[in-house]
Amino acid sequence: MDVIFIALEQSLLLLPLVLGIYLTYSIIQITDLTVDGTFVLGAAVFARLITNSYTIGISMAAAILAGAVFGVLVSLIQHKNRIKPLIAGILMVLMLQTINLQILGRPNVSIYGYDSFVKKLSFLNDNANLALSFISALVIFSILILVLQSNLGLILRGLGDNKGLVRKLGKNTELYKIFTLALSNALAATCGALSAQVYGYTDVSMGYGVALTAIGAVIIGSQIVKIFEKKRFIPAFELLGALGGTYIYFLIINIFLFIGLDPINLKLVLGLILIIFLTFFGDKNHE
């Protein structure tokens, strides 16, 4: 049973980032790896502010805003396809390595003992982290369902499926792309800030590989959704699919650890699983 709940806690904690990747990868169909950097950016901004006596509210808001700003920047780099999204994302991650280090002042900052949402939920003892992950996931979930169910969500889906049509309808496609990348990276930064509170520290290398993990989770999740939802786009199902994919990823990690599989082999197995899904179920239309 522990393995099930550990996987649940980890997947709920990473969910904001996964949902951000879902927006870019599945909705507007762009592969954006910037989240590797904005995840750490969110954690770095939060850690820097909270250790300088700012409130949790201001620290979180600043972290989210920082993520959104860099989402806008990466979108501007890609403006009118001057630079491919994949390359733009990689370049941004490279630059964020320096920026994050400058913000933190050093590679690792402990925030143990400082004010945090985890501390506020400490009356729940061992369940504080799970509670925080659940509450944040629920809030973000609700907001994204509203966005996807609205006209804005329809336009975003149109942008991914048929950009030409959206343009012909008189919509500024670049503006919607900017919005989505800003939102996606804001979610990644939120995830980073929450993770810093759960782990108790921020480290400049903590974002390594999160983008690929999230893309893998989104792909696995999209296949789960296809089983239940064949024709209509139902936002709640789509987002639950992303959660399902994330949960399966962490469940596999935890089960393999539990049965004693050497983690050096674990990464190989995870990679093979993702290759199978990408080969047979991946969408080839991505930029």
Binding site: M1, D2, V3, I4, F5, I6, A7, E9, Q10, L14, Q97, T98, L101, G105, R106, P107, N108, S110, Y112, G113, D126, N129, V198, Y199, G200, Y201, D203, V204, M206, Y208, G209, T213, I224, I227, I248, F250, L251, I252, I253, N254, I255, L257, F258, I259, D262, P263, I264, L266, K267
Partner: protein, 313 residues
């Protein structure tokens, strides 16, 4: 098909390994694959099995540099009722474990944890073995080897704790009239190009205890040989791989020190000192070094350090 896969995966929730009721169980968590960390663990296991006579089960886990895997390991160790002691190696893992685990003792090896953070804790379940050599000792050692030294090139990464040590070293060196050229290596691939920037008037190349730079010691060694400058480091592994000399601790000794603390923790003996600092330092001398062996031995003797000559290929 998916239904059967989920049932298969869920079935693992019913499984749990079983060990004897009286067996104590230790879970050791490492962050990455690295020889120095493996040496620490070897020293820990060897000494613990010698001094702790009761049946003991040791589970060794390596996160391979993945934070998600590391987090899963810590969570599982936390929730595993059969784990009596969690041992972490390196600072990041200890910080994560300390934040999550309050229901059992956590022992950090080769990790930094401040007195301030220890005092803030609700539950005092953290013990630490620190392997940091005071910067003043490192500099004193260098000044003893090279009394007229005026300039040092300090090659470092942006790994945790290194930044503060670099600033301390620079400040202290300046108080002795020694200029420090700092060369930051962001990633291992950058080491070669960064090493080309070593000033010609620099008299030695120095590395703190820095696993990223240690991984690329061969590159630095080549550059040092070209420039005709000695390469002074802070751990045994780098001397084995070609550095001239190092003042450090034997990695296995860190583990051994930790094993003594672990034995007390397993027997529920109160652990008064929460932060244990390694005091026994060793001078590691490369047999192929141009630095006089007799000089090094006399300095080691003067400061009460052990002397270990390392023969390399």
């Amino acid at each position: 098909m998916l239904r059967y896969i989920l049932i298969f995966l869920a079935s693992f929730s019913c499984c749990s390994p079983s060990i004897g009721l009286s067996d104590k169980k230790i879970t050791i968590i490492l962050p990455i694959q690295h020889q120095a960390l493996n040496d620490i663990v070897s020293g820990f296991q060897k000494t613990l099995l010698e001094i702790y006579k009761e049946p003991l089960k040791i589970k060794l886990l390596n996160a391979q540099g993945d934070y998600n895997i590391q987090s899963a390991m810590i969570q599982q160790a936390h929730k595993d009722k059969e784990t009596d002691l969690v041992v972490t190696v390196a600072t990041g893992v200890l910080q994560s474990a300390a934040n999550i685990i309050e229901n059992k003792p956590v022992l950090g090896l080769a990790a930094l944890y401040s007195e301030e953070d220890l005092k803030k804790r609700r539950v005092h379940n953290i013990s630490v073995v620190q392997d940091e050599i005071p910067i003043s000792q490192s500099l004193e050692f260098i000044r003893s080897l090279f009394p007229k030294i005026k300039k040092i090139t300090l090659v470092h990464s942006n790994m945790p704790k290194t930044q503060e040590e670099v600033m301390q070293f620079q400040k202290l060196a300046q108080s002795f009239g020694i200029t420090v050229q700092k060369l930051l290596v962001p990633n291992l691939v950058d080491l070669y190009s960064v090493s080309k920037s070593i000033h010609k008037d620099s008299e030695i190349i120095f590395i703190l205890k820095d696993s990223l730079i240690a991984s690329g010691i061969n590159t630095l060694k080549q550059q040092a040989a070209k420039l005709g400058k000695p390469l002074v480091t802070s751990d045994e592994g780098t001397v084995i791989n070609g550095a001239d000399i190092a003042l450090g601790v034997v990695e296995a000794d860190i583990g051994s020190q930790g094993a003594k603390i672990a034995s007390n923790l397993l027997q529920n003996i109160s652990q008064e000192t929460r932060i244990s600092i390694m005091k026994d330092l060793t001078v590691f001398y490369n047999a192929k070094s141009d630095i006089s062996e007799n000089l090094v031995k006399s300095i080691a003797c003067k400061y009460g350090y052990k002397f270990q000559k390392i023969k390399t290929d």
